[in-house]
């Protein structure tokens, strides 16, 4: 063996070792932030690895350091954050201590990011297309052909097609497409393929400009029954490589945006949240990184959209051989998507292992709590404290109250043929946000309205609250039509029907102390004097299990869950009969969500409250609701008890919503 050959063998062996080792290896990572001159340890001794092509999920509540871990890999720690110790190795190369320029070379082409909030992560003043283009230009990507990881190349080659040269990875251009389709049609006829029109339809669906490659076209043709040489001939003649605009459109359509060429010319504000997230996925994958860091990529989106986008991302990263570091607070979602789970708690990795293993045999107490609290995994209605037999005295009180309520009607709130139309700008016809919806809330029970965003459920809530006037139909409270309420009657109505809104950050006045926020409804309704009101606020705080010491504090000093408790205390101040919760727990972490739901449930059992619960999350519905109303595009499509809806959904739409619950099909090792 000559020396040259010897060297080559050695290099090969080295390459093999590198490819079998982890793509990303984080060891004993320590990250500090400086706050008021003090060091805060955000991440302490975190270690985990990601192998090529693997999905690894980091799970933890907000503040657990999971995003900080991800950002230190990218070298994009915010503010005063810095890595103080440990090592981060990407493909064997140490990243800690790299200079700005070296990091710029790695970002985009070796590691990409799909950020958390699609609303704030696209620059509002640039077109979507030009923001995708930036990623391609910054990494000097060849826009005419696909760059595939070695793993993906091997996968692709092991199918019925052998990749011969890099020219086989050329993309279809928009100029190529008409000629290609014409030639394909002709060859289908020549080969006598049955049903050529239908085959052409699938071709049109698959052959996206700037995304489908020459070998992909050849493969489609061969699979349709065209001879191999003929298929390659057509592919070579008509697939000649795309230009920048074609490639941008191709990336966007890969990410699941229909009509991508037009979409690329639009601005972010013309996109919905889901569409923006797709654009961000296109950007994150534009330069074909080996590692994609997805930081809560779908937390801001509806469950159904979330499922579609994650399914798409999974398919895309699998075909490209991209490894994904998936940051989420949802254990169910993590278990469903990732092969490996890393659980973080207070800056430390407390548990890590294969997904099912972690889920079914959680070791650390925190993981156990997380598994128990995950709404997507639990499948029982919460049992109230009363039913647990803890509060016999209050139970008696409730009985007395229960007898008096019997004299009144069974239904607290009845909604009949409710319709609401809105005028859209520059459109003649009215938009029906709510279309002939009827239901009623039984005293002391919970009715949930579920549906995607835009299904009209919040509009219904606003009409029940007398904040919007219905176009037609009636809302009755205690057998009285609320549309006639004015002055004193309206005040009385407001006293008995109270809202809790979605965003605990926005629904409390930041300039009001907690005491003032809770006391305000009492003051407005002129109930009691200063002393008795203070007493009442203390009671309320006690009821929502908050210490009295928070009275003098302000909303920005409290966490999201604590704020939502304050909002509930405020709603309870006037002793209402009905509470309308508009996505009241959607913005909260699972553990906090669980606590708030339990609180609401206990309050219902103690005080005979009725809830109208608006949510897009069916997992939450299962925990709290007695009856479910499903809304789609303003219409009521299904109305049944919770068990019926979950066990025997009647409509396809309801089944889709149920399927979208992350981890819904996973089995747990808990009793």
């Amino acid at each position: 063996m000559s020396q040259e050959e010897n060297m080559a063998v050695k290099a090969d062996q080295q390459a093999d070792v590198a490819s079998s080792g982890p793509l990303l290896e984080v060891k004993d990572l320590k990250v500090d932030f400086t706050s008021d001159g003090r060091d805060v340890h955000a991440v302490r001794d975190a270690s985990f690895s990601v192998y090529p092509g693997q999905w690894v999920a980091i799970v933890g509540e907000s503040g657990s350091g999971k995003s900080t871990c991800a950002m230190s890999v990218l070298g994009l720690l915010p503010g005063t954050g810095r890595v103080v110790d440990g090592s981060i190795r990407l493909q064997g190369r140490e990243l800690v201590g790299l200079g700005r320029k070296e990091y710029e070379d790695l970002r985009g082409s070796h590691m990409g990011l799909v950020p958390q909030d699609p609303m704030s992560n696209l620059n509002p003043v640039w077109r979507i297309g030009s923001q995708v283009k930036e990623a391609l230009v910054a990494n000097k990507m060849d826009v005419s052909r696909e760059k595939r990881s070695r793993l993906a190349q091997e996968l692709a080659s092991s199918e019925d097609i052998k990749l011969r040269s890099s020219d086989d990875e050329l993309f279809i251009s928009s100029a190529d497409l008409p000629g290609l389709l014409k030639a394909a049609r002709q060859v289908l006829d020549e080969a006598g393929v049955p049903n050529p029109d239908k085959v052409m339809e699938t071709f049109k669906g698959e052959w996206d400009v700037g995304s489908e490659t020459r070998w992909g076209v050849a493969r489609s043709l061969i699979r349709a029954g065209v001879g191999e040489d003929r298929a390659w001939g057509i592919a070579k003649a008509h697939v000649t490589g795309s230009d920048m605009n074609d490639r941008i459109a191709g990336l966007l359509s890969e990410a699941g945006l229909p009509d991508a060429a037009t979409r690329a010319r639009q601005y972010p504000h013309e996109f919905s949240g889901g569409m923006r997230q797709r654009a961000l996925i296109a950007i994150g994958l534009a330069s074909r990184p080996d590692l994609l860091i997805a930081d809560e990529p779908t937390s801001a989106l509806d469950v159904t959209v979330q499922k579609k986008i994650l399914d798409h991302l999974k398919g895309l990263t699998d075909s490209l051989g991209t490894a994904v570091l998936f940051i989420t607070h949802d254990l169910g979602l993590a278990a469903e998507r990732a092969q490996h789970i890393v659980v973080m708690y207070k800056g430390q990795v407390v548990e890590s292992g294969p997904s099912l293993e972690v889920l079914q045999h959680p070791q650390h107490p925190y993981t156990k709590r997380l598994v128990q609290a995950a709404p997507s995994l639990a499948s029982q209605r919460i049992i109230s404290a009363k039913q647990r037999g803890q509060d016999a005295e209050r139970l008696m009180e409730h009985h007395v109250k229960g007898e008096s309520t019997l004299e009144r009607s069974e239904h607290v709130i009845t909604v009949e043929h409710l319709t609401k139309e809105f005028k859209l700008p520059r459109k003649r016809e009215l938009f029906k946000a709510v279309d002939d919806v009827s239901f009623s809330v039984k005293r002391g029970t919970t009715l949930a309205i579920v549906g995607e965003s835009g299904s009209g459920k919040s509009t219904v809530a606003n009409m029940v609250l007398h904040l919007l006037t219905p176009t037609s139909g009636t809302v009755t409270y205690e057998n009285q039509d609320i549309s006639g309420f004015k002055g004193h009657e309206l005040m009385e109505f407001r006293r008995h029907v109270q809202p809790v809104f979605q965003n605990p950050y926005g629904s409390l006045d930041p300039m009001y102390s907690i005491y003032r926020s809770i006391e305000e409804p009492l003051r407005i309704h002129r109930i009691g004097d200063r002393k008795s009101r203070e007493q009442r606020v203390r009671e309320l705080l006690d009821m929502v299990e908050m210490p009295e010491s928070v009275m003098g504090r302000y909303p920005n000093e409290l966490s999201g869950g604590q704020r939502q408790r304050i909002a509930i205390a405020r709603a309870m101040a006037l002793n209402p009969d009905v509470i309308i919760c508009d996505e009241a727990v959607s913005a909260l972490d699972v553990l906090v969500q669980d606590q708030v739901l339990r609180l609401l449930n206990d309050l219902q059992a103690e005080r005979g409250l009725s809830y109208l619960f608006i949510t897009h999350d069916l997992a939450v519905v299962r925990q709290i609701a007695d009856e479910v109303v499903v809304m789609q595009q303003g219409r009521l499509v299904e109305h049944a008890t919770t068990d019926e809806v979950f066990d025997h959904p009647q409509r396809q739409y309801t089944r889709d919503l149920l399927d979208a619950i992350p981890g819904g099909k996973l089995r747990l090792g808990l009793d």
């Binding site: 070379d105 990011l113 950020p115 003043v125 990623a135």
Partner: protein, 308 residues
């Protein structure tokens, strides 16, 4: 867009009517008799005074005077000054000088304001940022006439670097120092505005996304930080043109520039309602047109803004 433009132009009519009426009323309410003042130390000849009064419509009630002024103004006949010159020719002499001065001040404050603002914003917390902040605070808090007199004394009187006063038909060098003085306060505001915008934009999520794409620091700053930060700065600059034209009064007095400010000042002293109102009307029009242009510019710069 066309409809919006038309609506905005129609809105100018009540604005111009309202401001002229207000100014006319203010001049009318000034104490002292302008005709009596024309006689100076000499005794007032009642017959001549009455003739002058009727010639300038001063003997008629206030509202009639105003309506007559409007009627003439529609045919671009602004009448004569007390000294007998046509108002149009007085304005024609004064405006070009002020426009020149205002444009020089505008360029000065725009260029230096943005440059120092960018330096401050990008080096937040460092010594350069602190120096710029202190300087801008100083310029904002010291009144124009103080800066004006100090520069005039130092550069014009003591060191003879620049002409101390401008006089008639001033050239570029004559107006350089006045333009710097006139633009200094706005420049300080632009420095602060640019700096604040940059420091807040640089921590935006889309800037992080841009970095995650692998873009170079330079590109990120240019395309994502500066582009977004300069939108409010451009609108501020646009709105400031009108302010520069009207605010030149003090600067023109200090440097003896025969521009709009100076002429307006003299006219107010003499109680010449017609001249005052004519000048103010033009200034109001400039203000209104500038704000319209700024609003249009805003729509061009920020795609989220659309007028219908």
């Amino acid at each position: 867009m066309g409809k919006y433009l038309l609506r905005r132009i129609l809105q100018m009519i009540p604005v111009v009517l309202g401001t002229t009426l207000l100014i006319y009323a203010l001049v009318f309410a000034l104490p002292g008799d302008p005709v009596a003042a024309m006689f100076g130390d000499k005794p007032v000849n009642q017959a001549v005074a009455a003739q002058i009064r009727s010639e300038y419509n001063l003997d008629k009630p206030f509202i009639v005077q105003y309506v007559l002024f409007l009627k003439n103004a529609l045919t671009l006949n602004f009448g004569n000054t007390f000294a007998g010159q046509p108002v149009v020719s007085v304005i024609g002499r004064a405006f070009p000088v002020t426009v020149k001065l205002a444009l020089m001040a505008f360029v000065f404050e725009g260029v230096f304001g943005v440059i120092f603002g960018i330096i401050g914003g990008l080096t937040k917390g460092k010594w350069s940022d602190n120096v710029i902040l202190v300087l801008s605070l100083l310029l904002i808090s010291v009144p124009t006439f103080v800066t004006g007199f100090i520069l005039q004394y130092l550069f014009g009187v003591k060191w003879h670097v620049l002409p101390a006063t401008a006089g008639a038909n001033p050239g570029f060098m004559d107006l350089l120092m006045p333009a710097v003085v006139l633009g200094s306060v706005s420049m300080a505001s632009i420095i602060r505005l640019t700096r604040t915008e940059i420091t807040s934009n640089i921590s935006e999520d889309y800037v992080r996304t841009a970095r995650a794409k692998g873009m170079s620091n330079r590109q990120v700053i240019l395309r994502h930080v500066l582009r977004n930060s300069l939108i409010p700065v451009v609108t501020y600059l646009g709105a400031d043109i009108g302010g520069l034209m009207g605010g030149a009064m003090i600067t023109e007095r200090i440097f003896n520039i025969q521009g709009v400010g100076n002429t307006l000042f003299q006219a107010i002293l003499r109680g010449e309602g017609t001249l005052v109102v004519s000048i103010v009307t033009i200034l109001v029009m400039i203000f209104v047109i500038c704000s319209l242009v700024v609003d249009m510019l805003y729509a061009v710069l920020d795609p989220r803004i659309r007028y219908a």
